[in-house]
């Protein structure tokens, strides 16, 4: 750096004597040598006007003078110098409005460089039986990215912490191994970026961009389903990435084998590393999560309330988070701890109602579906058009609602439990053979 400025100072003395004072102060005041590479000197100038003018008027003289001091110089290039621009006028005006609080504009919520949300860390991740395995696999990756499980594929229903876990992987790698470049994106973004690149004929730039990273984390890959062109791109991306020993992390809402419309070659590639699921949340984990959220919100909850909250929300951390936030907000508002009734009220208003289905409802839906009289299900009739729906009801009651055989029989007009067992098994067997029947069953299930 010092060499450059020395070199330029010497040159400037020469130039100053060669041009008029006015010209010198207008065009040369804010210039500097930014770098020198293979005999090419890069001259930093404040704006395009200076760039054009120096090139047009003084190019040869500058080059000649530079050669006098250093015969290695072959060529001269001009670049617009960002730093120079900001220095002007500094301190000239002071903000009179000092007491106004300034906006936290630079606290990027999401880091633009790597797209990671700094809030998602392992420290704030609650480990329980349902995510132990996924957590352990992630920890292994963090220690040596690209060397153990590659790719890591995490799947699970919405609200079980997939995004938190994979972003935590990114944040941890960023922290522990700063030389590794991490990038997080959703599969949707991958598609839109690729599509835009295709439209502008810049597919190569797109590929280049992702080759810069050592770890790429892609969320929600189930959205690739049915998008063949993008799958192909992902496939190539996958291969180049994995071959060069760089880490890939994927998440999806289901196992790669059951994502519909996914090409076989991608499916098998997703499975080559480690596929691990986030299971259903158990009661203890839910309680742990509620406590963790309370701690981060700085509120305290009695064990009784923790119990109520965690048992009323079944399988979605996001919902737990939402409810805890509401409780925190109301606690602050009322300036006291909420009582059990108030909590129950909040829960009632803010959780999805649990489905309450009675035997009667099932009977009604099924008999509507087959267009028969509801009463006939309970009667002793063995007409063909009634027998099949009745068997279907028994099957559904047993399979989906786990009601015991004797009580199913009793509720459907006092039938023997062996009749129910027979019907249940018959339907079960037939579903396997008859796809039409299987379709009927799934249709009925969605209606109940």
């Amino acid at each position: 750096m010092n060499d450059y400025s020395q070199m330029w100072q010497t040159a400037l003395i020469e130039i100053e004597s060669a041009v008029s004072q006015a010209n010198f102060s207008t065009w040369f005041k804010e210039t500097r040598i930014v770098k020198e590479l293979d005999g090419v000197v890069y001259l930093g100038v404040p704006n395009s006007f200076t760039q054009e003018w120096l090139y047009k008027k003084f190019h040869n003289s500058i080059l000649r003078i530079l050669r006098q001091t250093n015969d290695q110089v072959r060529a001269l290039e001009y670049i617009i110098d960002k730093e120079n621009n900001s220095k002007k006028e500094e301190g000239k005006r002071k903000m009179v409005s000092a007491p106004t609080i300034s906006m936290p504009l630079h606290d990027f919520y999401i880091n633009k460089e790597d797209n990671l949300n700094p809030r998602y860390t392992f420290e704030s991740f609650v480990v329980g039986p349902f995510n132990e395995l996924a957590h352990a696999a992630s920890q292994t990756i963090v220690k040596a990215p690209g060397q153990t499980y590659n790719p890591l594929f995490i799947y699970g229903d919405p609200g079980r912490g997939k995004t938190h876990l994979i972003q935590a992987v990114g944040n941890k790698i960023k922290k522990d191994l700063p030389e590794k470049k991490v990038f997080y994106l959703t599969s949707e973004r991958f598609c839109t970026e690729f599509f835009a690149a295709l439209q502008e004929n810049k597919a190569n730039q797109f590929k280049e961009k992702y080759r810069r990273y050592d770890v790429v984390i892609m969320d929600d890959v189930q959205f690739f389903s049915g998008k063949e062109k993008f799958q192909e791109e992902l496939f190539h991306f996958f291969n180049t990435f994995k071959d060069t020993g760089r880490q890939l992390v994927f998440s999806s809402d289901r196992h790669p084998n059951v994502i519909p419309g996914l090409e076989e070659r991608l499916r098998s590639r997703f499975g080559t590393g480690m596929v691990v699921d986030l299971q259903e949340l158990d009661q203890e984990s839910r309680m742990a999560i509620v406590r963790a959220k309370c701690a981060s919100q700085n509120i305290t909850m009695s064990p009784e309330i923790v119990e109520i909250v965690s048992s009323s929300i079944e399988d979605n951390i996001r919902e737990i988070e939402g409810v805890v936030n509401i409780i925190a907000c109301q606690t602050q508002l009322k300036n006291r701890e909420l009582n059990v009734n108030e909590i129950k009220n909040i829960l009632k208003n803010n959780t999805r109602p649990k489905k309450m289905v009675s035997v009667k409802d099932v009977v009604r839906v099924v008999s509507d579906f087959y267009n028969i009289d509801e009463e006939s299900i309970y009667n002793k009739t063995r007409r063909k058009e009634v027998v099949r729906p009745r068997q279907m009801i028994m099957y559904l009651l047993r399979e989906d609602f786990g009601i015991s055989f004797p009580s199913i029989g009793e509720k459907l007009g006092g039938r023997d439990h062996t009749t129910v067992i027979h019907s249940y098994e018959k339907v079960r067997e037939e579903i396997k053979k008859n796809s039409l029947l299987a379709q009927e069953v799934s249709q009925l299930r969605s209606m109940i």
Binding site: S25, S102, L105
Partner: protein, 368 residues
């Protein structure tokens, strides 16, 4: 050497370019207008090294040449010419230009045109066409919020980007922020660009004169605006505008809906008694249906002005800088506005409640 040009044309050119020629102390030629002419056309040029402008006009001349005339003198002379005089002739002699109209004539000293800089052209850039009025509306709605200090270049500029069918203009000096969305009629999308605040006035002035559809070309270092032989080029800031969306409050605890004019009047009265920081205190109590503005200055006195408003939410008292609030009303056409507060030390949102809702303004409170 003699150039003949219509008076009307010359006046229009001067309106477009005179103010761009700067008062450059070190290089006198920069305070001049350069006329580059041949037999049928002339190009009028002016630059202050931040912005450059060129206007091509048809003229009559016997030959071609170059002349640099001090912009201020030429401009002042031309503006005073009566409109009915049809033709102005410029006779260029060594060191002088003789201007003759049917009514008057004058001799202006010229400057050596040799040092007049080249006005850069954009060779590789993205082009987009847009209605000048729309673009001016966007710029005018936000540019006063830019930072006047150039310590952070990206804040002393107006940020323009594309969002769906809208072109979004945003500016902030970190104490307040203005955002305006305008519908882009064309399908081509404008790429992200930061135009320096200092050049915005020049852009607005030109676009207000030209109106109609203009062509904007954007490259890494420059942006140009073109329309019928008029070409304006400005430096752009090579930087990243802060991700301001994250500071826009998603919810609020107190809202006041008021008539814009009532609020402006009340603020003006209050401001007479404000301290040297222009501090005004907004006191809102929805339960008691009270909204007043309080100011206090130990040297002058104090004031409390009531504002009639529809209030909801919690009671709150927050201090603001009068100037920051007052600035935004120029961008709001609606009669009523909504003030949304989220608590102490949290930003306040001001937005129109009826009609055109594409404007958003955020002010930070004062911390005492």
């Amino acid at each position: 050497m003699k150039i003949e040009i219509q008076t009307q044309k010359l006046k229009e050119i001067m309106r477009k370019i005179e103010h761009i020629a700067g008062k450059h102390a070190t290089l006198p030629v920069l305070s001049c207008i350069l006329i580059e002419y041949n037999k049928n056309t002339a190009i009028f040029k002016a630059t202050n090294l931040d912005v450059g402008i060129e206007v091509v006009v048809p003229i009559k001349s016997e030959n071609s040449g170059l002349v640099a005339i001090p912009a201020h003198t030429l401009g002042a002379f031309i503006t005073q010419l009566p409109d009915q005089s049809s033709i102005v002739s410029l006779e260029i002699e060594a060191g002088n230009v003789k201007i003759t109209t049917p009514q008057s004539s004058g001799v202006i000293k010229t400057v050596s045109s040799e040092d007049f800089p080249t006005i850069p052209k954009i060779s590789e850039g993205k082009e987009v066409e847009i209605d000048a009025d729309i673009f001016v509306k966007g710029l005018k709605s936000v540019w006063y919020s830019s930072s006047v200090s150039s310590i952070k270049p990206e804040l002393s500029s107006v940020y323009i980007y594309n969002e769906g069918e809208y072109i979004v203009f945003a500016a902030t000096d970190s104490f307040r922020l203005a955002e305006k969305k305008v519908k882009s009629l064309k399908t081509t999308k404008i790429s992200d660009i930061l135009i320096p605040f200092r050049n915005i006035a020049d852009v607005i002035r030109l676009l207000e004169i030209v109106n109609g559809t203009i062509k904007i070309t954007i490259s890494k270092n420059l942006v140009s605006f073109e329309k019928d032989g008029t070409y304006l080029v400005s430096r752009v800031i090579d930087g990243v505008f802060p991700d301001y969306h994250q500071i826009i409050p998603k919810s609020f605890i107190t809202e006041a809906v008021i008539l814009k004019q009532d609020f402006i009047n009340a603020l003006k009265i209050s401001n007479i008694f404000s301290d040297k920081f222009n501090q005004v205190r907004l006191v809102i109590d929805p339960k008691k249906k009270i909204f007043n503005i309080q100011t206090k200055n130990s040297d002058i006195g104090e004031n409390k002005t009531l504002v009639s408003a529809a209030l909801t939410g919690e009671s709150i008292e927050v201090n603001f800088n009068y100037k920051y609030i007052a600035d935004c009303f120029q961008s709001i056409e609606a009669d009523s506005i909504s003030l949304q507060l989220s608590g102490l030390n949290k930003p306040m949102i001001i937005r129109p409640v009826s009609g055109d809702q594409t404007f958003l303004y955020i002010v930070m409170p004062m911390n005492r």
